[in-house]
Symmetry: D3
Subunit: 239 residues, 6 copies
Amino acid sequence: MQRPSGRQPNQLRDIEITRNFTCHAEGSVLVSFGKTRVICTASVEQGVPRFLRGQGQGWVTAEYGMLPRSTGSRMGREAARGKQGGRTVEIQRLIGRSLRAAVDMKKLGENTINIDCDVIQADGGTRTASITGACVALVDAINYLQREKIITTDPLKQMIGSVSVGVYQGVPVLDLDYPEDSAADTDMNVIMGEDGGFIEVQGTAEGAPFARDELNAMLDLASSGIQELISLQKAALAG
Amino acid sequence: MQRPSGRQPNQLRDIEITRNFTCHAEGSVLVSFGKTRVICTASVEQGVPRFLRGQGQGWVTAEYGMLPRSTGSRMGREAARGKQGGRTVEIQRLIGRSLRAAVDMKKLGENTINIDCDVIQADGGTRTASITGACVALVDAINYLQREKIITTDPLKQMIGSVSVGVYQGVPVLDLDYPEDSAADTDMNVIMGEDGGFIEVQGTAEGAPFARDELNAMLDLASSGIQELISLQKAALAG
Amino acid sequence: MQRPSGRQPNQLRDIEITRNFTCHAEGSVLVSFGKTRVICTASVEQGVPRFLRGQGQGWVTAEYGMLPRSTGSRMGREAARGKQGGRTVEIQRLIGRSLRAAVDMKKLGENTINIDCDVIQADGGTRTASITGACVALVDAINYLQREKIITTDPLKQMIGSVSVGVYQGVPVLDLDYPEDSAADTDMNVIMGEDGGFIEVQGTAEGAPFARDELNAMLDLASSGIQELISLQKAALAG
Amino acid sequence: MQRPSGRQPNQLRDIEITRNFTCHAEGSVLVSFGKTRVICTASVEQGVPRFLRGQGQGWVTAEYGMLPRSTGSRMGREAARGKQGGRTVEIQRLIGRSLRAAVDMKKLGENTINIDCDVIQADGGTRTASITGACVALVDAINYLQREKIITTDPLKQMIGSVSVGVYQGVPVLDLDYPEDSAADTDMNVIMGEDGGFIEVQGTAEGAPFARDELNAMLDLASSGIQELISLQKAALAG
Amino acid sequence: MQRPSGRQPNQLRDIEITRNFTCHAEGSVLVSFGKTRVICTASVEQGVPRFLRGQGQGWVTAEYGMLPRSTGSRMGREAARGKQGGRTVEIQRLIGRSLRAAVDMKKLGENTINIDCDVIQADGGTRTASITGACVALVDAINYLQREKIITTDPLKQMIGSVSVGVYQGVPVLDLDYPEDSAADTDMNVIMGEDGGFIEVQGTAEGAPFARDELNAMLDLASSGIQELISLQKAALAG
Amino acid sequence: MQRPSGRQPNQLRDIEITRNFTCHAEGSVLVSFGKTRVICTASVEQGVPRFLRGQGQGWVTAEYGMLPRSTGSRMGREAARGKQGGRTVEIQRLIGRSLRAAVDMKKLGENTINIDCDVIQADGGTRTASITGACVALVDAINYLQREKIITTDPLKQMIGSVSVGVYQGVPVLDLDYPEDSAADTDMNVIMGEDGGFIEVQGTAEGAPFARDELNAMLDLASSGIQELISLQKAALAG
C-alpha cells in the first residue's frame, strides 16, 4: 500500500499553527493540516445564554463554515441559501461539545467563548483541524480573560487535540487527506485530551463494517497522532 | 451500583417491535425500548435524487422528528419554528447513513426508500430505537419491492441493530434510559451488523474523558446487546 | 346510493377514544374515527403569551401535523421544508379557535394549554377527529390543573365535538371517509357544543354550489352525530 | 339596537367598484365596502402549475396581503418577517377556492389566472370585499383571454359575490364594519353564486354558540346582500 | 434625440401628490411621477429600536414593496417567497437613510417614524418617487407629533426630494420613465435637500463608463428638477 | 487636520495583492488595504442562469460575506441567522454590477464567473477592497478560460478599481479606514475603469449634505487613487 501523499501510515501531514492571524479576536489561529487550512477564532463575550443565566458558570460554543470555494467545485453559500446544511450543523456541534470538555465552566464564570472555525481551503480533515486549532485560540482567549482580570483562576482542564484515522486499502492510516478520505473503507474522528483519555470517538463504516481489531489499530494511531498534535499546540503557545 | 430501573448492567429494556402499525406505508413499525416509543415507516418511491440519476442504483434516506410532547416538557414544533434543530439533523443523518450500510444500492435499482422515525414517547435512546425499528420497516419495504416484482434480487446485505451504552456511576451499562442518560459520564451509540462488524461508533465524554478499557467494556456490552436486538428483529419479521 | 364503507348515511365510523396514550402530557388521547387516527395531547404551561399578560386570563392554542406517511403517498415533512403548509395552518387555527370556545379564560387563570394534534394515519376527517379527541385531552389537562390546585374552579364551559358531513352522490351523509371525501360535491365541517349550539360551521362547494335544503339536511346529520360523539367523549372520561 | 354606522340591519355599506385601476394587469379593480378598500388584480399566465400539466385544464389561484398601515396600528410587513401569517394564508386559500368555483377549468385551457388582493385600507370585511372585487377582475381577465383569442369559449360559470353577516347586540346584521366585527357574538362569511347557491359558508361563534334560527336569519341577510352585490358587479362590468 | 414620452430633456413627468390618501396613518400620501404611483405612509410609534434606547433620540426607518402586478409581468409576492429580494432591500435602505438626513433625531425624542412605500403601479423611478412622496408623509407625521404635543420643537431640518437622471441616446435627461430607464447608458439617482446640498448620489454605468462632464450635466439636471419637486411638495403641504 | 493614521489626504493605505492565495479556485486573491483583508475568489462554471440561457452570452455575479469576528465585536453568522443582512445584499449587488461592467458578456460565451469576497479582517473600505481584489481574481479566471481554450477571445474590457473617499474634519481624504469612516461627514465609494470613466459613484451624506465642490474634490482624489490601484493590480498580474 502506498499513500497518495507518500506518507507513512502513522505520519501526520505538515502541521502549522499560526497565532494572532487576525487582529480583533481574543484568540485567532490559522491552522494547516497539509493543504487543509482553517481560521479559528475565539471571541469573548460577557454573559451566558438564557438557559444558563444565574448559575455562576460559563459557556463555550462553536460555529463552522466553509468558504464557498474552499473546495474543488464551488458550493452554494449557506448564508445565501438561508440555512446551514446538515453536515455543517453536525460538525459545529462536535466542535463545541469537544471544547466544552476542555474547560471548567465554573472557573470560566458567567462568560461565553464563541469559537468560529472557517475553512478557507479544504483537503480532508477539516473538523479535526478545526478542533486542534480552536483549542489554541481558546487558550489565547482564556489568557486574555485572566490578563484582563475578568477571571482569576485558569479554567483550562487540559489541552485537547483531534485527528482522523481510517482504513485505506486495508491499512489503518493517520490523518487522511481528501484523496484518501474519499476512498477509505472506514473513517474515524478521534478527540483526545492531553491525559490520553477520549473526549469523542466517531467511527463510520463507509463500505464494509469494520472489525474490533481494525478499531483498535485506528485508536492506537489516533492516540500517538494526537499527542504529537498537542506538542505542536504547546510549542505554538510557547512561541 | 443500582440502576434506577433495577436492571442488570447488561440487560436491555423490554423491547417490542410491532409491524404494520399504520396501514399506508410499505413498512410500518412501532418500536418500544421500554417507555421510548418510535413509529418507523419505510416509504418506497420510484426514482432517486438528482445526484444519483442514471447510475442504476438506489438510495435510502431518513428523517427524524419528535412529537412536541413526547418529552417531559413540551418542545416547540420544528415545523412551526421553520427549521429542524441541530440534534434532529445529526440524528437523521446517522439513521440514514446506518441503514444505507445495510443495503446493496445496485440491487435496489433506481428506487428510493424514505425512512421516517417519529418519536411519540421519549425516555432515552430514541436514535438507537429508531435505527433498530427502522431496519425492520426497511425489510418490509424491500419485501414489498420483491413481491411487486419491482426488483428481482434481495438488496439487504444484513440486519443491523443499534443500542446505547454508557458509564453510569462508574459502571458500564447497556441501553440507558433517560434518568441514566442524563447522569452518565460517558454516552456511546453503537450500530452493528448481524456479522458482528461495526457500522458506526459514536462515543462522547459527558464528564471526564473515558479510558481505553472503559471503551472496550462498553463495546462488549453493545455487541451482545445488539445481537439480542437482531434476534428480536428476526422474530418480529418471522411473526 | 351505497356508501363505499357500507355505512348508513347517518352512521358514524367506529370511534375509539384512548386516554393516557402517552405518559408525559397532562392530557394524552389517541382518537380513531375508523382508520383515521390522531394523537391529541394537551400540555399545561404556566403563563400566557405576551399579548395577554397581566389580564388575569388564560389561553388555549393548537398545532396540527401529519406524519409524512400518514397518507397514501408520502408527503414532505413540514419541518424539513421549513414551513407549515396552508392547509396545516388553516386546520390548526380552526382547532384552537374551537377549543377556546369551550373554556372560560378567566377561570383558567394565567395558564396556557397547548394542544397538539398529530395524525398518524389519515382516512378523511382528520380535523374533526382532532377536535373531538383534543377536547378529551383538554378536559384531562383541566382536571390536572384542578387536582394540582393551580386553579380552583372548573373553566370548562361545555364539551364540544366535531364531525364532517357532505353530499355524496346526491345524498347527505355523516362522517366522510377519504373515498367519500374525495368524491363529494359538498364538504362541511361542523363543531357544536353539548348544548346544541354551533361553534363553527365551514361548508365548501367542491363541485356545484349547494342549496339551502342541502345545507339544512347536512346540519341535521351533524347535530345528531356530534351528540353521539359527545356521549362517547363522556364515556371515555368516565372510564 | 343602533348600528355604529347608523345603517339598517340589512343595509350594505357604500359599495364602489372601479375597473382598470392600474394599467398593467389584465383585470384591475379597486373595490370599496365603505372604508374598506382593496386592490384586486387578475394576471393571466400561460401554462399551469406542475400538478395540472398535460390535463388540458386551467387554474385560478389567489394571494392576499395588507399594506402595513392599512390598519389602525401598523402591522409588521410579512415580506420582512419572512412568512405569511396564519390569517393571511387562511384568507387567500378561501379567495382562491371560491373563485375556482366560478370557472370551468376545461374551458380555461392550460392558462393560469393569478388573483392578488391587496388591502390598502381596512375597516372590516376585507375578505368578502376581496372576493367581490376579484370576481370582477377575473371577468376582465377572462374577457382579455377571449379578445386575444387565447381561448374560444367563455369559462365563467356565474358571477360570485361575498359578504359578511353577524349577530351584533343580539340582532343579525349585514356587512359588518370593524366596530361591529370586533364586538359581534357571531361572525359569518358567505360566498354565493348568481344562481343563489352557496359556494362557501364559514360561521364562527366569537362568544356564545349560535343557534339554528340565528344561522338561518344570517343566511337570509347574506342571500339578499350578495344578490345586490352581484348587481353592482354587473353594472360595473357594463359601465 | 426624441424622448419616448415627447418630453424635453429637463422636463419632469406630471407629478401629483395626494395627502390623506388612506385614513389610518399619521401621514399618508399617494405620489405619482407620470404612471409610477406609490402609496407612502408614515406611522408614528412610541419608543425606539433597542440599539437606541435611553439615548434621548428618535429614529426613522423605511420599508419598500411592490404589489405583484404593479409591473408589466407579475412578480412573485415577496411575503409568499419568504424573503425580500436584493433590490427591495437596497431601495428601502436608501429611503430610510435619506429621510433620516432630513430629521433632527434629538428633537424627535424617543419616537420612531416608520415609512412604508408600496408601489401600486411602476413605470420607472419608483425609488425617487417614493422618497419624494415619503418626505411629505413624514412632515404630516411630524405635524401630528407636534399637534398632539408629543414633541415640542420641529425636528424637520429641511425638505428633501429625489429624482433620477440618465444619459439616454447620448443626451442627459431628467426623470426617466421605464422605456428610457431600460435603454439608458447611465442611470443616476440623486437626493438633495432644499438647501441644494447632496444627501445621496448613486450613479451606475449600465453600458459604457460615464465621463466627468456627463456626471456634471446629470447633476445640473437633478438639481433643478429636485428644486421643482420641493416646490410641489410644499404646495401639497400648504393645500 | 491630522488623519488618525498619519497619512496624507491623498494617500492610499498599504496595498497588497496576493494571487493564488487558495488552491482550488480559478482565481484566488488575498487583498489588503491596510488592515482590511479580503479573500476574493473567482470560480468558473459552465452554463448561465436560467434567465440568460440560449442567448450566447455569459454572466458574472458576486457574493460577499464577513467572518463573524472580522470586526471589533463579533457579529452573528449570517448562515446561522438564516438570511443575509441588508448591508451584505447591497454590497454584493454592487460588486457584481461593477465587475460585469468590466466584461464583454458575448465574448465570455455561456459561462458564469462567480465572485466570492470574504472579509477576514475589517478596518473600513471592505467593499472597495473587495472590488479591487476581485478584478484581479476575475482576470485569473478569464486567463484560465483562455488557457483551457473554453473561450478564444479575451472578454476583459478593461481593469476596474475602487476606493472610498470622504470628507473628514472638513477635508476631503482618500481611502478611509474605520476610525475615519465612522467619523466622516460624507462617505463616497467610487468605481472607475482604467480609461478614467466612472462605473459607479455612491455618495452619502452622513451628517450635513455635501456641496458640489466637495463632490468634485472627492472625485479628484478617487480618480488618482484608482489609477494607482490599477497599476498595483497590473503589477500583481505581471508578477
